[in-house]
Assembly symmetry: C2
Homo-oligomer: 577 residues x 2
């Protein structure tokens, strides 16, 4: 698709939005950037914790990786940064290798960002963006819903202030359930209150405000502002009542801000082996999510994205993230929504948001020190709940059971056997569904509608046929997976109809014939030849004919090649007469 | 396909060939059975050694598993027993777990036969025979050729009498190469002479005999007899010159014959975990090979096979093999060829061959004791060389490069990274090729050939069009993998043609629309709607329409559904006028 898209990158080094910046958007971009920076602050902290990293990692990777994406990405409004899916995937792949929040784990996360960034960049540079088509939407939807359940499971312990340890999501969750008697009252009160408040803000407040006459866009803004308000209120409560010191409420703690987080680290070669599979997973999931979202956004804004350029942007962004913050980043649904609804028109908005974050970090982050973690857990859980897409399951169930099972299978796989195997299962289900469907082609025996040149299924229409001549149409390309069905059906029809002496294979729906199919066709032709049945072809498509005309099959064919079914019908009837 | 096939199993417990045995075939079946038993004797010993098992295993599994297959299988002439592919696969999956020829290894092999037999039986009972369609012919061909190279590599040490040890095929082969200075003169002379003689018999003798006026069928029989002659001559040479005792030529040794090999063993539960992957591999490869061969035979003999019944036969056969002989068995190309050319008409021939083998075992196997192993190695190598199918590569290369690469990739994978990963790579390549092709559909913008009702590609034919109306045909089902291409091309055409206000999506080649595609179509329709472009459908197939008619997409469509392109053309032209 890249060769067809309008060139986004007119300049050799700088993207079009920099060299030809539309001045009229300047004010709205700057305002949108500042608003976005502030509104996504709690998210940044929360997703870092979800990934098993210190909260400041989320703030740090909201700076230079964002600028990198603005320069190399292809979407005008997508906001990159810490996102829920990438965070839970990071946690899932790294927590078996090291204990979260330890220096060892943090180094692994940075190395993972570097490796997966390089890999995603390579996908883009090698124009492998089509790899993301390995997953169907029901599978992606199942993956996201399953991940959301894992996220909720993982945050319960933080919400209730339970101290547990474990290697993987299920161990942690079961330990949390066993630990519920030890919940911390103060933490739980703050966390559950925040949870209820956030659910109220998200699901009730907007409608309420609109009912009281507020414009939809303003109501929307207020709703988006409220999580920040909740964070501020909770922090003030901790400070006022000294909840952290007196009642053991876990808080964010001192943030190592400013430029001090920059590291010129050399990844250990040992990590390469350890991180091979995690890198592949993070890169693949990042690819799928980012392309999918960028595409959805582009459709909405009548723009074209270049999938491969998008990957280059995401890749560079992650490589940069490795050196400052050390957390894999991605394109986020909610942060992009904030950016768009704040009025962003070009990636300048993201650059402004990044610079605002840098200013906040330099001015000081003392305000976050006593922010209770349970409030962040509540915000993660609310975001996760909204990721569960039951409507997609209902739609798939109504339209196509195979797709619905693929969705359910992937979601169940992610929850039960883990994210890594869940995504593998999803790919398997996508391909199995595709293969299974293509292996059961629709096949029709055809006849001519009397008085016309139209040919239709003999079972559905009153048609004329020629005795001893079988018009056989397969509504699918011939490939290794469906030959068995085709051969079986052809045998059956030849036995079923009396004394067949001519078979016309109607190839109007055959877009390709692979090597396996060509050999099988050759065998079928030989077999029919021995039985004194002639095999004719009709309505062969140009590209199919070009390819087959060079093969022994074509030369050894004992029948003819007809342009249309009608030509075949007329000539075979004359022969007969 | 099973519901379409003629019923092979009329009786509830006994197959049709038993209850309605055609008497006129009795003599030819009995003779064919005896001949087959004798001619395949060297093979049976050789493939047991190839599998890393004592030679008698190959004789023992030629009895009851063969009878089991005759009763439960669906092919009339396929001969089951020790085969090269199954043997090398057994060696490949088990040699990393235990040292070949040790009691531990022998028990593992029997357990593997049991488990894979049960699994294959389950495939058949659950009607999962279509799983074998996961592999295209080029991939199967590549797998067999690659395996043949591995077989030759593995037998070199036996041919030259070099003692080496190692875990996998490559270690053994490299050790063999390093060990060449220590080749045993007597063994090497016998082995290499046998190798040259067998190559001569196979590739020259037949043509020579026919040139001297022998009938083709007799020449063929002589050629098939010669390996046995070579074995006898070599054994006589060993006995006459006392080569085993005096010159260290390795020989078969005493064979534990008769009924003593029967074991009622209880597989250890620990083996289940250890053998999970080996079982899957052996079952899958057995399935693919057996179905493929049974089908090829059935085509040649104008019979139908029931793929699932075939799997049940193979499964039961392996379960029986586990208890007497303890070696996985399969349908063999060369042993089936022997059976067919000896005149077999029904599975009675196999039953006679099995009983003949039992008689040989009971009467005594002293004759094999001093048979030199290097002669068996030579016969394995000659069989392996004939499995390398360069012609398939040439054909694929000429017809379709993607298939040729799949073949080469699988063969290289098998040789370099091992059988297990090679077959996984093959499946991956099969599916990747399929997906890649389907993701690049042929798309045409169409117009009407003046004065007709025929619509053709505007780029290939002089056609009339309506200004502002785009006839857009996609020659592929809509599915998750090709939406990106379709959307991109549609966008391009809308931009390319001036002021489009109507798009007619011609769906004559669309056999299915999956959930992902349906959602994408809905988005495309919404998008076009916002741009004041109407989206019409034409030539929608019945099954596709039935399914889509229930969805919101159908209801929200702002255009019409036309039966034919011509209807759409006429009506849209009138609207325009």
């Amino acid at each position: 698709m890249s060769q067809l898209s309008t060139p986004v990158r007119a300049h050799r080094f700088l993207p079009g939005w920099v060299t030809h910046y539309p001045r009229q958007h300047l004010l709205s971009d700057v305002l949108a950037g500042i608003v976005t920076c502030v509104l996504v602050l709690p998210q940044n902290l929360a997703y870092a914790l979800l990934a098993g990293l210190p909260p400041q990692a989320g703030l740090l990777v909201s700076i230079f990786p964002v600028i990198a994406y603005a320069l190399w990405g292809s979407s005008m409004t997508q906001a990159v940064g810490p996102v829920a899916i990438t965070a839970i995937v990071t946690f899932s792949v790294l927590s078996p290798l090291a204990t979260p929040f330890t220096p060892e784990y943090i180094t692994l996360a940075a190395t993972l960002a570097l490796f997966s960034g390089l890999l995603v960049w390579a996908f883009g540079a090698l124009k492998l963006g089509f790899l993301s088509d390995l997953l169907s939407r029901p599978v992606i939807s199942g993956f996201i819903s399953g991940s959301a359940v894992l996220i909720v499971m993982s945050q319960l312990k933080v919400l209730l202030g339970i101290e547990v340890h474990g290697m993987d999501s299920w161990q942690l969750f079961l330990a949390t359930l066993r630990g519920t008697p030890h919940w911390q009252p103060a933490t739980t009160v703050i966390g559950v209150s925040a949870l209820l408040a956030l659910l109220f803000f998200r699901h009730v407040l907007g409608a309420l405000l609109r009912r009281f006459g507020l414009a939809a866009s303003r109501a929307d803004f207020v709703v988006r502002l409220m999580p920040l308000v909740a964070v501020v209120v909770a922090t003030v409560a901790v400070v006022a009542l000294d909840l952290d010191a007196q009642h053991g409420v876990a808080v964010v703690g001192a943030i190592n801000g400013g430029m001090s987080g920059f590291r010129f680290f050399v990844p250990q070669t040992g990590s390469l082996g350890l991180l091979t599979i995690p890198t592949l997973i993070v890169a693949f999931i990042g690819t799928v999510q980012n392309i999918g979202m960028a595409q959805a956004l582009a459709v909405r804004r009548r723009e074209r994205i270049d999938a491969n350029q998008e990957l280059i942007g995401l890749g560079v962004s992650n490589v940069v993230a490795a050196f400052y913050g050390g957390m894999p980043v991605g394109g986020g649904i909610s942060r992009t929504a904030v950016n768009v609804s704040a009025g962003a028109q070009t990636p300048l908005s993201s650059v402004v948001a990044a610079l605002s974050m840098l200013v906040i970090l330099v001015l000081g982050t003392a305000g976050f020190t006593r922010l209770p973690l349970s409030v962040l857990a509540a915000s993660i859980m609310v975001a996760a709940v909204s990721m569960v897409d039951l409507a997609a399951l209902r739609r798939a169930w109504a339209y196509d059971r195979a797709d619905a099972f693929a969705l359910l299978g992937t979601a169940t796989g992610v929850i039960v056997i883990g994210l890594q195997w869940g995504i593998a299962l999803g790919i398997g289900l996508s391909l199995a569904t595709l293969l299974y469907r293509a292996s059961q082609p629709h096949i029709a025996v055809m006849g001519r509608i009397v008085g016309t040149e139209h040919f239709r299924n003999v079972e559905r229409h009153g048609v004329e046929t020629i005795h001893g001549v079988l018009f056989f149409r397969v509504d699918e390309s011939f490939f290794f997976g469906n030959l068995r069905s085709i051969e079986a059906r052809l045998s059956y029809e030849i036995q079923h109809f009396d004394s067949i002496h001519d078979v016309v294979l109607v190839m109007s729906a055959v877009n390709r014939v692979d090597m396996t199919a060509l050999e099988a066709l050759t065998e079928i032709a030989d077999d029919l030849h021995k039985r004194n049945i002639r095999l004719h072809l009709a309505e062969v498509k140009g590209p199919v004919q070009d390819r087959m005309a060079k093969t022994p099959f074509w030369k050894s064919l004992n029948g003819r090649i007809y342009l249309s079914c009608n030509d075949a019908f007329e000539l075979l009837r004359q022969n007969r007469a």
